[in-house]
């Protein structure tokens, strides 16, 4: 069975790239343009991984992660947070204990897929 991944990213081009990269690998991907949209997707269906941006309108990544972790079915799912190099340290401190790993933007496809694959184990 293919793994279900939710991608939350407000920047359309980035999101499309991520989604198509994952889809090509055979993952089944659901996309959301902000935290609000993303949280709707967590409605009890099986989801294996969340990849989310930090800065998003309506509901940001931190809030989204908190909401997802609070749901019993998703307490332990892996979460990858997309960040830009500059801000990483600050966010890292803020998100400690909640996320699985960071993905720095921009990323190499191979590195990205390696991290996704590992997170899905």
């Amino acid at each position: 069975m293919s793994k279900n991944i939710v991608v939350a990213e407000d920047f359309n081009v980035s999101r499309k790239i991520i989604v198509s990269t994952l889809a090509k690998e055979g993952y089944s991907v659901m996309e959301a343009a902000d935290g609000n949209e993303a949280v709707q997707l967590f409605d009890g269906r099986p989801i294996d991984l969340l990849i989310t941006d930090f800065n998003m309108p309506n509901m940001n990544g931190a809030e989204l992660i908190q909401k997802v972790r609070a749901m019993e079915s998703y307490t332990y799912i892996p979460i990858l947070l997309l960040t830009t190099e500059v801000r990483e340290e600050k966010i890292q401190q803020a998100m400690d204990g909640n996320i699985t790993a960071f993905i720095k933007k921009p990323f190499e496809t191979q590195d990205f897929l390696k991290i996704v694959k590992k997170a899905l184990r």
Partner: protein
């Protein structure tokens, strides 16, 4: 492909699996049995062939792999061993799940990998053999120290998966430190409190090993390559753990076992070790021993989990059950024991038996959350079909129950939920009119209490419509028109066979079966169901289930020369009464708790003459329905193992099962409520 054939295939495949399992167990007893090996091969072959025809891809692949293993065994190329046997038995379970349409592809994949690895190992071993005496293989040895943060799972990391991944790299030795909570429990609770020391022999390079811990923080893991025996007393290692001479020697032995000949002369290193640990030695040897015994437990190479076939588990449970019976027998032989020391020893034995029993049963327990996804799916599809909005809240899904019990619960729970959404929760418009939130609430919670697990399903819907039930009951001839009925009685009618209040047979809840089936299903696993409801506010269905299916505390009673058992949780009150006083009254009723109630005399029931002068009355209370049963005498209390009745006797519903008494004789377990009905 015709659907009938499909069904036929499923039946046939299941039978094949049963035969296969049987043959495997036979083979375990006699590993040399060539006929059995042949049979196993044949079963797998048949399974594979027909699976392909019916599109069971995973079944086909898995049985193909297994078949190839057993063809090697048959041809004497491979020796059948415990590992292969366990793997195959496990595969049988997975195959059964696959045929049942369960999504076990992942497990199948894992087994196939194991088999592939088995074959690889073989070729590697034979290759090594060929170049015997050549340079030691190019394995490297690593020492790994893991100190995961307690909340590592909350970060979405799967610690178990990481250990599995590590294991795939090569043979390893796994040590758990500070195991204040059993390691398996830590994994199950997803809260890691121990820290770990792992010795790994692998062809992989240092970076590849570190890669396993990609998501761990640098502070959480250390990977050191072992190049010589000095590592364990070197600074980087001592930063994490200070080992004394014995402990270092232990580790060197482990490395030697993982990679024979890798560390050439471990003895040579010994000279320097005592210095590094002199302080620890001075603190006394007792403390040292304590530490190595209590804090460090060595694990097998397979890592934290040992998977056991359910067959083996059942075997353990059987032995434990027999032990329980034997304890009763021993007690019986001692005739109550006058010697206080013997009594004390008996009590100790009892405590130990109970503990053994509890731990054995614990192994079979699985958390309820394996049902969660199914229930959520059901709720979504049902509420959609009916145009209702439902919010599903769960609590206590980590409550554990016997695996077989959870399987048995699935259908009744689904039925109750279907009913709650169909009959209980109103349409969104209706709810708004009633000042309720548009979204109906369905709450599932479960908890442990004593020997029981409770599961409650609560909805905030309309509650049960008693007028409707009364009308329907009268229509179906289950109730009479001019009588007043209590809510309890109406609920009982609702659960009676042939009762269904759906105005029309809907696709959702009206399928010709009703709550009676739920009640029967629950009763079959010795559980109760209770309903409370408030008109306009909602209903609560409470299921009360025994933790285990097979062990029962009973009261032993005698009637003439026979003994019968009554589950002790059903016994409310017992007293003695003279035969004359009981039977001479015309009304044939006794007065209990301010009420007159009829009694059933077992002697009469079984048509045995010669009543004793003194009779014993037992008031049985099951689900608040009371029955008075008259027996000769109470013999005592007995913890016993429940065995279902032989199929030939299932028509006899005044007994629910049988059991073996301490003296080895059989006794029937009374189902008192049925005595009253007849």
């Amino acid at each position: 492909m015709n659907a009938d054939f499909h069904q036929e295939y499923i039946e046939e495949a299941k039978q094949l699996l049963k035969d296969l399992e049987q043959a495997l167990l036979q083979l375990e007893k006699d590993p040399e049995d060539a006929d059995m090996i042949n049979n196993i091969y044949r079963y797998l072959h048949t399974l594979k062939g027909s699976a392909g025809m019916f599109g069971f891809k995973d079944v086909e692949r898995l049985s193909h792999e297994l078949e190839s293993v057993y063809s090697d065994v048959r041809d004497g190329i491979r020796q059948q061993d415990d590992f292969i046997l366990d793997l195959t038995l496990h595969a049988v379970d997975v195959l059964a799940d696959l045929i049942d349409g369960k999504d076990s592809g992942k497990q199948a994949e894992k087994i196939i990998k194991d088999i592939e690895k088995l074959k690889e190992d073989d070729t590697a071993a034979s290759a090594n053999h060929a170049t015997a005496g050549g340079a030691a293989n190019n394995n490297k040895a690593y020492a790994i120290i893991l100190r995961p943060e307690k909340n590592i799972y909350k970060r979405g990391l799967n610690f178990q998966a990481m250990l599995d991944e590590l294991q795939e790299l090569g043979a390893s030795e796994f040590m758990v430190h500070d195991e204040t909570v059993p390691f398996e429990k830590q994994l199950a609770d997803k809260e890691v409190v121990s820290w770990f020391e792992i010795l790994l022999a692998s062809k992989a390079g240092l970076e590849a090993v570190k890669d396993v811990f990609l998501f761990m923080k640098p502070s959480e893991y250390t990977v050191l390559e072992i190049t010589d025996a000095g590592l364990f007393s070197s600074e980087p290692y001592r930063k994490h753990i200070q080992l004394d001479a014995h402990q270092i020697e232990d580790r060197l032995k482990m490395v030697e076992a993982l990679m024979p000949g890798f560390l050439n002369a471990p003895e040579a290193q010994h000279t320097e070790e005592p210095e590094t640990v002199s302080t620890a030695v001075q603190q006394g040897e007792a403390a040292e021993e304590d530490e190595s015994l209590d804090k460090i437990s060595r694990r097998s190479r397979k890592g934290g989990h040992v998977s056991v076939s359910t067959g083996k588990l059942d075997q353990l449970i059987n032995v434990v059950s027999e032990l329980v019976i034997f304890r009763s027998e021993l007690y019986h032989l001692m005739g109550g024991g006058q010697n206080p020391e013997v009594v004390e020893a008996m009590e100790k034995l009892e405590r130990l038996t109970l503990r053994l029993r509890d731990s054995a049963f614990n192994i079979r327990l699985v958390p309820l959350n394996i049902l969660n996804v199914k229930l959520e799916r059901l709720i979504r599809s049902v509420s959609k079909a009916l145009g209702k909005e439902v919010e599903f809240i769960t609590e206590g899904l980590d409550t554990e129950l016997d695996r077989s019990m959870i399987n048995a619960l699935e259908a009744p729970l689904m039925h109750i939920i279907r009913n709650a959404i169909d009959h209980g929760i109103e349409n969104p418009e209706e709810r708004e009119r009633r000042n309720k939130p548009r979204k109906g609430l369905l709450k599932f919670y479960s908890y442990n209490s004593g020997d029981h697990v409770f599961i409650q399903l609560q909805d905030d819907g309309n509650g049960i419509d008693f007028d409707k039930i009364r009308a329907k009951g009268i229509e179906k001839g289950l109730l009479t028109r001019n009588q007043a009925y209590s809510e309890k009685e109406l609920i009982n009618v609702m659960m009676a066979p042939g009762f269904s209040t759906a105005d029309q047979v809907t696709t959702v809840s009206g399928r010709g079966v009703g709550m009676d089936v739920v009640k029967k299903d629950i009763a079959a696993i010795r559980g109760d169901i209770e309903v409370s409801t408030e008109k306009g506010l909602g209903s609560i269905f409470t299921l009360r289930l025994p933790l285990t299916l097979t062990i029962l505390d009973t009261l032993v009673v005698s009637v003439a020369d026979n003994k019968y058992l009554i589950p002790i949780n059903e016994v409310e009150y017992c007293y003695k009464e003279s035969h004359a006083r009981l039977f001479n009254k015309k009304s044939r009723q006794i007065s209990y708790d301010g009420l007159l109630m009829p009694f059933v005399s077992l002697r009469e029931y079984f048509a045995i003459e010669d009543f004793p002068e003194q009779e014993t009355v037992i008031i049985i209370n099951k689900n608040d329905t009371k029955v008075a049963v008259v027996v000769d005498e109470i013999i005592g209390k007995l913890q016993t193992v429940y065995k279902p009745l032989n199929e030939l006797l299932t028509g006899v519903d005044c007994f629910s099962g049988t059991s073996i008494l301490g003296d080895g004789s059989m006794a029937l377990i009374l189902n008192a409520l049925k005595l009253k009905d007849s």
